[in-house]
């Protein structure tokens, strides 16, 4: 996600969540180690439960940016993805994500692991670890020694069993419904999806998870991602319910899909490079990279992960609904202009 795009203001979700940020509850989280000045000591050693295991309980937030939530294959090439899966991803991109979980108030499924838009509370007991998300969803990780079911009933949140490997919590999951998308962009998965998560609490304030996704029907090889997670001290989770209403659904569903304009690779290759925008949009400069993979132009804004640029004209592209426009300047310079709902960001190619 990013500044609000022109086509996909999934208003219910994106706008409402942003507005809530301002009203966080302030309280002194009981039990947190503190420094002399009363601030929480986030560098203190990770706490342990009565049975000696690391205690992962607490309120947490993904601190890894948007890279994998936007595109779970940010580290891969298109050729690493099965053709049917890439076609489905293209279709969803051309429709600006109108059927995504976010627009239908549905659970994010595996994408809860990569999004930073759902804070969550881990509640740890010896036989069950529960994760409560701020959107009201929850997940259960069975710690009572049971195994994964060979043929689970497919669900949005999957079926998860966990065990301790030293001080690392290892969670194995299967049984995910194919209805969920792996990322905001719309990469699909099948019921064959298996996920392994390895959680290590480094300090009071830091948790890290290494996630491996395996789905031989979609990816040529397992994908492994590492995501840093930070503790949210001295506050409490707010409810962020998504109120589903068929009228807003119908309005979104009426959004016309984009038509792909075939632009010759020679033209697209003129836009490749690293760009930097000036401060006129939000008071900061931003770096972005444009790359070409076969006949597809990909855009990586501030290292948030490669996202597809869909050609609307030879020089205008849809970036999940926001418009990215290239124009030639003097002496071979290339300019970039990004049109959001809220305003326009401008920059030039640096190399």
């Amino acid at each position: 996600m990013r500044p609000i795009s022109q086509f996909v203001c999934a208003g219910l979700v994106v706008c409402a969540v942003a507005a809530l940020d301002a009203q966080w509850i302030k309280l002194q989280t009981p039990g947190l180690p503190r420094l002399r000045d009363g601030k929480p000591n986030l560098e203190a050693p990770a706490p342990r439960t009565a049975d000696g295991k690391p205690d992962l309980s607490g309120l947490w937030k993904n601190d890894g940016g948007d890279r994998y939530y936007n595109n779970i294959l940010a580290d891969l090439k298109t050729s690493d993805v099965a053709p049917w899966a890439h076609e489905l991803f293209m279709k969803r991109s051309l429709e600006f994500g109108k059927d995504s979980m976010e627009t239908q108030c549905l659970p994010l499924g595996p994408a809860y692991l990569t999004t930073r838009y759902r804070d969550y509370r881990i509640v740890q007991t010896p036989t069950l670890i529960m994760v409560a998300y701020e959107d009201g969803m929850h997940r259960q990780i069975w710690m009572d020694g049971r195994s994964l079911e060979p043929e689970p009933n497919p669900t949005w949140m999957g079926y998860s069993v966990g065990r301790w490997d030293g001080d690392t919590l290892v969670v194995e999951s299967n049984g995910f419904t194919e209805r969920s998308w792996l990322d905001f962009g719309g990469h699909p998965h099948t019921e064959a999806l298996r996920i392994t998560e390895r959680y290590t609490r480094r300090t009071v304030g830091r948790l890290e998870v290494q996630i491996t996704l395996t789905d031989a029907k979609v990816f040529a090889k397992p994908i492994t991602l590492t995501i840093p997670i930070k503790l949210l001290p001295d506050t409490e989770m707010l409810e962020g319910f998504c109120e589903n209403h068929h009228k807003s659904r119908e309005r979104m569903a009426s959004t016309k899909a984009a038509t792909v304009v075939n632009v010759p690779a020679a033209t697209l290759s003129r836009y490749i490079g690293s760009y930097q925008t000036d401060e006129s949009y939000d008071g900061m400069t931003h770096d972005m990279a444009v790359t070409l993979d076969g006949s597809e132009l990909w855009f990586d804004y501030e290292g948030k992960g490669k996202e597809l640029l869909i050609a609307l004209t030879p020089a205008r592209f849809s970036w999940s609904g926001s418009i990215v426009e290239f124009s030639s300047g003097s002496a071979g310079a290339m300019n970039i202009t990004i049109h959001y709902v809220e305003g326009t960001e401008r920059g030039v190619r640096r190399k």
Partner: protein, 303 residues
């Protein structure tokens, strides 16, 4: 049209019941059993290592109520075994009546068993009348929303209590409900301090073997059509409401919840009702994603 809308609500509930049968059964080794392997409902209630009663487990509502007038003639032959002709409940045996119990809360209309009815203010009576006149179409239960503390306690789908010393969580199968009850000694916030939540802000403490949970800062009926519903008929509560719940687990199999509601805007005096729940051993709630196929409002063409 009236019948159609009511049926839509009912269908949702009846469906839910059949869904709860889908998890495979497993044998929970922590459950007390007799020689034949049956769960000993009368066994002593378990305790946590710190000596508190352990309310953890999966629970089903075990109270009966008469068939509401809206459903007369629609479902009369269904689910009769067990003594009641109630269509909105799973077939769980009721407990013997407790003479000391406050009135049993009814899911359809919380006032059903209260002698003389509820002490509603004119404000509350008008809202309930309006909600009934529109066939309860805005019941948050039917609209995939959090349905309020009492509807969640009485809903026929199971709920799971996860108890830790500092936090008690109640997970509801229905509409993916999730309540957090802080047990770490923090005070109940002032009314109006955190923004009002669907579940309110809940703080709990132990009084002997009773878990006392106080909740305020709820979204009341002033907030919108889906807010402040105590029951299916839409008996409202306001944003000023304070709920006090007293949870007791007298035996392994039984949970008693007495709910007291103080809300001067909606009721001229506080009142208390009881909800009984029976443990659901060897089974788990299943995933129920209400929004997955939410057709209710479109199908019945209400807006």
């Amino acid at each position: 049209m009236r019948v159609t809308i009511s049926s839509a609500v009912i269908l949702l509930l009846v469906w839910s019941v059949s869904l709860s049968a889908q998890w495979g059964k497993f044998n929970d080794s922590a459950v007390p059993r007799d020689a034949k392997g049956a769960v000993r409902m009368d066994a002593p209630s378990p305790r946590t290592p710190d000596g508190k009663p352990d309310l953890s487990g999966n629970w089903l509502r075990a109270d009966r109520e008469p068939l509401p007038s809206e459903l007369a003639g629609l479902f009369t032959n269904r689910n009769r075994e067990g003594g009641g002709d109630v269509v909105v409940e799973p077939p769980v045996a009721a407990f013997a009546a407790d003479p000391k119990s406050p009135p049993i809360a009814a899911f359809w209309d919380i006032s059903t068993n209260i002698a003389g009815g509820l002490p509603m203010t004119a404000w509350a009576a008008d809202i309930k009348k309006m909600r009934m006149a529109s066939d309860m179409k805005d019941n948050p239960d039917a609209n995939c929303m959090p349905m309020g503390i009492t509807q969640f306690h009485m809903q026929p789908q199971p709920r799971k209590i996860v108890q830790t010393p500092k936090l008690i969580v109640i997970l509801y199968e229905a509409n993916y409900g999730q309540r957090l009850i802080y047990m770490d000694g923090r005070p109940l916030p002032k009314q109006g301090e955190p923004q009002p939540f669907w579940y309110g802000y809940s703080v709990g403490r132990w009084e002997g073997d009773t878990l006392v949970v106080e909740t305020n800062n709820l979204r009341g009926a002033e907030e919108g059509p889906f807010d402040g519903w105590l029951d299916v008929r839409g008996t409202p509560y306001s944003g000023q409401a304070k709920f006090t719940e007293r949870f007791r687990r007298p035996t392994f199999g039984k949970l008693e919840i007495d709910v007291t509601i103080e809300d001067a805007k909606a009721f001229t005096k506080p009142f208390t009702v009881r909800i009984n729940q029976r443990v659901m051993a060897d089974e788990e709630p299943i995933e129920f994603v209400c929004n997955e196929n939410q057709q209710f409002r479109r199908r019945i063409k209400i807006d």
